[in-house]
């Protein structure tokens, strides 16, 4: 829940800490790049497009996953050179918790809104978090240079929807550079300088931490009080562990060492910590020689919302997968995993993710950076299962559902979803929410847009809700959600049988009302995804003992080279190697080769 840091009055320092709140595509990264360029943080030739999004994946997808910072030196119109610490925030709903972390280090935030597209749900949620944390919000209208820009309308929207005064919103264009200086001046004029007492005992909040191959764990901290220098002996207040501080510094965004970090500053600390566990995000750093009386309020631990099984295609890659997950975890505290065994897939891991995007990213990094061939099972949410004897279980894997005769009730996670959509798409959005078993809680017309509040089963949102919402609203609707409660629901386990054998890795939980339909669709989808084999393959969908759908995949007739003589060896080898490579991402279940996509067939139901 939100927390507010004490901000006592103190001498005004030429420092400002701020972050940017923006929806994906509204130009946050480009704007950040402009600031860095304006303040000479990097030479022009070093300005790789969107430098703050440093992971290759982030750059490709145009999103920010991890918080990053840049300490900018800006000579203001008043003649004073200010240090502006920009703390970048992710813009995707999966990473909402990272936002609150970034905001905890700031006194102010720029609310960047696309001057033609207007306010989006994610921005609203992050902006609420900011105001709850006592952070000053400065509205900025970006992409003002576009002919479609409608600043008056967007200002009205900001006031209607978010409820802050937006009359003096800054008009800017990160693309042309218009308004950049105005923003930086506003940061100095409107955002309070950091308070805090340099002479008080050290209290530094760990905002983020990651593992670097050369120096070990790097912590990004906000110093609230006191001063931290290299060679100080530090105490991590949550774990009680002590370390020798090796170096401190700031990112410009290049890392630059400093003699010290003092109250009000944001920077990095390297202290010879070997494991991320030793540098928990939200922990408070103090000095062994003069400890603070109490830690700063921390962050709550984020719980994974979505689970899926990750299995190596080749059984002998299990150890390699475990090592790769361990390495990823070093930089991603929100990734959870534990070993699991599937009858069909062998040894693998049940992994917990913040959401589907997070899952996608982890999967892609395992494949790209660690060269793993993976089979991922369909994502599922956690179900609470109340047994007749009163025991309450949490089930993260449908195949682990106990025998139904022992089950009193199954409860599914319900979330409160806020959807912001232009008026013209309200109809289809309402239909979609109803289809997905939603209950309307609120509907509010805010100028041109409508804010809808629904309670929805998380399982339905995990499935394909984002994509459907985007498609029924031509990309204009946006959403934000938070967990509400577990609620009893009539959900059943849908099993898939391949040649009569139940394949545990293909089981999914579905609501009884759609079970028949889903079963038929999944079986049909699997028929189109499983390639023809040496023998007929039967795909069945079943609920309990009842078969609800059956499809068959006709056997191939043959796979033989008509000719092969002395001269052909090399060519034939290449041909067979190519055929074999085509089977690489398939897993033999029994004697049937099943491609990765088939394990995710449930997600593809309804696609053409």
């Amino acid at each position: 829940m939100p927390f507010v840091f004490p901000r006592p009055t103190a001498p005004v320092k030429p420092i400002r800490n701020f972050s940017i709140i923006a929806h994906i595509d509204h130009g946050k990264s480009t704007l950040a790049d402009r600031f860095i360029q304006r303040c000479g943080g990097l030479a022009d030739r070093e300005m790789e497009a969107q430098v703050l999004d440093s992971m290759a994946l982030e750059r490709e997808r145009g999103i920010t996953i991890k918080a990053q910072t840049a300490a900018l030196a800006y000579k203001a119109r008043d003649g004073v050179t200010y240090r502006l610490n920009l703390i970048d925030t992710p813009g995707h709903v999966d990473f909402a918790y990272e936002v609150s972390r970034s905001l905890a280090a700031c006194e102010g935030a720029l609310l960047v809104v696309d001057a033609s597209q207007g306010v989006e749900a994610q921005t609203v949620a992050n902006c609420y978090t900011a105001t709850e944390q006592g952070v000053t919000v400065i509205p900025v209208l970006n992409k003002i240079d576009l002919p479609s820009a409608d600043p008056e309308r967007v200002i009205a929207e900001i006031e209607d929807i978010i409820g802050i005064d937006a009359q003096d919103a800054i008009r800017a264009s990160a693309k042309t550079g218009e308004g950049i200086d105005d923003i930086l001046e506003a940061v100095i004029a409107r955002i309070p300088a950091p308070a805090g007492d340099e002479d008080a005992p050290l209290q530094a909040l760990v905002i983020d931490s990651w593992f670097d191959n050369y120096v070990g764990v790097v912590m990004l901290v906000r110093v609230m009080h006191g001063r931290l220098r290299p060679r100080d002996k530090i105490l991590m207040m949550a774990t009680g562990a002590t370390y020798g501080c090796e170096s401190v510094g700031v990112f410009t965004p290049k890392s630059v060492s400093r003699d010290s970090l003092s109250a009000g500053e944001v920077g990095f600390v390297i202290a010879g910590i070997k494991e991320l566990k030793g540098a928990q995000v939200g922990d408070t750093i103090t000095l062994v020689s003069r400890p603070a009386a109490a830690p700063l309020p921390g962050f709550k631990l984020v719980k994974p919302q979505v689970f899926a099984g990750l299995y190596p295609v080749e059984a002998n890659q299990y150890e390699a997968l475990r090592d790769a997950l361990a390495k990823l975890k070093l930089n991603d505290a929100s990734l959870h995993y534990e070993p699991e065994v599937s009858q069909a897939l062998g040894f693998g891991f049940r992994c917990g993710f913040l959401g589907l995007l997070h899952m996608d990213i982890v999967q892609e990094r395992l494949e790209r950076e660690y060269d793993m061939d993976l089979i991922t099972t369909a994502p599922t949410v956690v179900y609470q299962v109340l047994l007749r004897d009163g025991t309450l279980l949490e089930i993260e894997n449908p195949s682990k559902l106990p025998d139904l005769s022992k089950v009193e009730e199954i409860r599914e996670p319900i979330i409160t979803v806020s959807i912001l959509t232009p008026q013209e798409y309200v109809g289809p959005v309402l239909t979609l929410c109803t289809e997905k078993r939603g209950t309307q809680r609120n509907m509010q017309y805010l100028g041109r847009q409508v804010m809808l509040t629904y309670e929805l089963p998380l399982a339905e949102v995990v499935m394909d809700f984002f994509d459907k919402l985007k498609s029924v609203s031509r990309g204009y609707a946006s959403l934000d959600y938070e967990f509400r409660e577990f609620r009893a629901a009539d959900v059943v386990k849908l099993d898939i049988l391949i040649n009569g054998e139940r394949v545990d890795a293909l089981s999914v939980m579905v609501h009884r009302s759609v079970a028949q339909y889903r079963g038929r669709e999944v079986a049909a989808k699997m028929r189109s995804l499983i390639p023809r084999q040496m023998f007929d393959v039967a795909v069945q969908a079943a609920i309990g003992a009842q078969i609800i759908a059956r499809e068959s995949i006709k056997a191939l007739r043959k796979n033989v080279l008509a000719k092969c003589y002395g001269g052909d060896i090399t060519r034939k080898r290449k041909l067979l190697e190519k055929q074999k490579a085509g089977k690489k991402r398939m897993k033999s279940v029994g004697s049937v080769e099943i491609p990765q996509e088939a394990f995710l067939a449930i997600l593809k139901v309804g696609e053409k």
């Binding site: 040496m534 191939l556 007739r557 043959k558 796979n559 092969c564 002395g566 001269g567 060896i569």
Partner: protein
Amino acid sequence: MTRILAPGSTAPPAFRALPPLSLYVHLPWCIRKCPYCDFNSHEWRRGGDGPPEDAYVDALVADLESALPSVWGRKVPTVFLGGGTPSLFSPEAIDRLLAAIRARLPLAAGAEVTMEANPGTFERERFEGFRDAGVNRLSIGVQSFSPRHLAALGRVHDAAEARAAVDAAVELFDEVNLDLMYGLPDQAVDEALADVEEALAFRTKHLSCYQLTLEPNTLFHRHPPPLPDEDEVDAMQSAIEARLERAGFDHYEVSAYARPGHRCMHNVNYWRFGDYLGIGAGAHGKVSSPDRVVREVRWKQPIRYLEQAIAGTPAMERREVAAGELGFEFMLNVLRLTEGVPATLFAERTGVPLAAIGRELGIATRRGLLDPDPSVLRATPLGRRFLNDLVALFLRDGAHAKEPA
């Protein structure tokens, strides 16, 4: 010298006795390139003088001479003149070639000497000349007797020429093979069967029936013709197999059928993983020596080959087959034979013990693709239909070839 091997790697081959050695001679020219053909064949310019026969035979002789040290003293049971269209060469040129071969290699008594021929005009006299030069087996590229399908295949001969050529061949040679194709553009099952029926009427002792496949780097691959569907092609194959069996033919290899005692010994040598020296433009060879197996490819472009062969450097590529690859290469060949081979042939022909592929053999057997009888290496009926899947089990990742020292 003891060689120390990394765990899991295969020891280099060591042969007790070298495999039988055949000779393949490539004659690369055709009147016209067929749209389905992916062999190393070259059209000679229409209206030109025809292939440079004399120069090419000189080059072949020079090629053979430079190869002699690697096969010194080994008896040669079969010779195969392939192409291209070898029958475009004059009987005189073929006579000079075969005489030169006999003078340099110890051909076995009664050695099989096959020549490929395509039907054309005035074939009878030429065939007689080839016979007199020492050719004792003729393989004729008929493909079909149906005018419609011959046209679809872009063949230069018509049905009448095909019949005349086969008539002449069976009159002059004891051993004649006819190549037929099925699964042709717009072909129906009874049409495929009619081709086989007509071929049988000539009472040849060998038939090759190939399914038409679209190979990369062919005109058909770029512009696919309307081929019958998988079920129809399968029906053709079953019908052909049944008909030929009834006629007393033994279906001894994927596409080869022979009356008892009339198999093509040259091809059987490939399929039993024997050695072969390949001379001529683009020819491939595989020659074993006591501790290694070397593959060679000759220069492909005829003009380039002529220069290189005369200069004594006919090979464009020469590489030692890595021990880890030998298992795959062996299985790729021997499993094409319906009756397979004795299990002991593996060590004999690869120089590495059968245990080197023990794991793969187990998998193949469990999947029902390989005969469980340990004394033979033979595909099951399922394995014969899915031969690619079976053979691919023996592919090793990273078993790359190395350059010989």
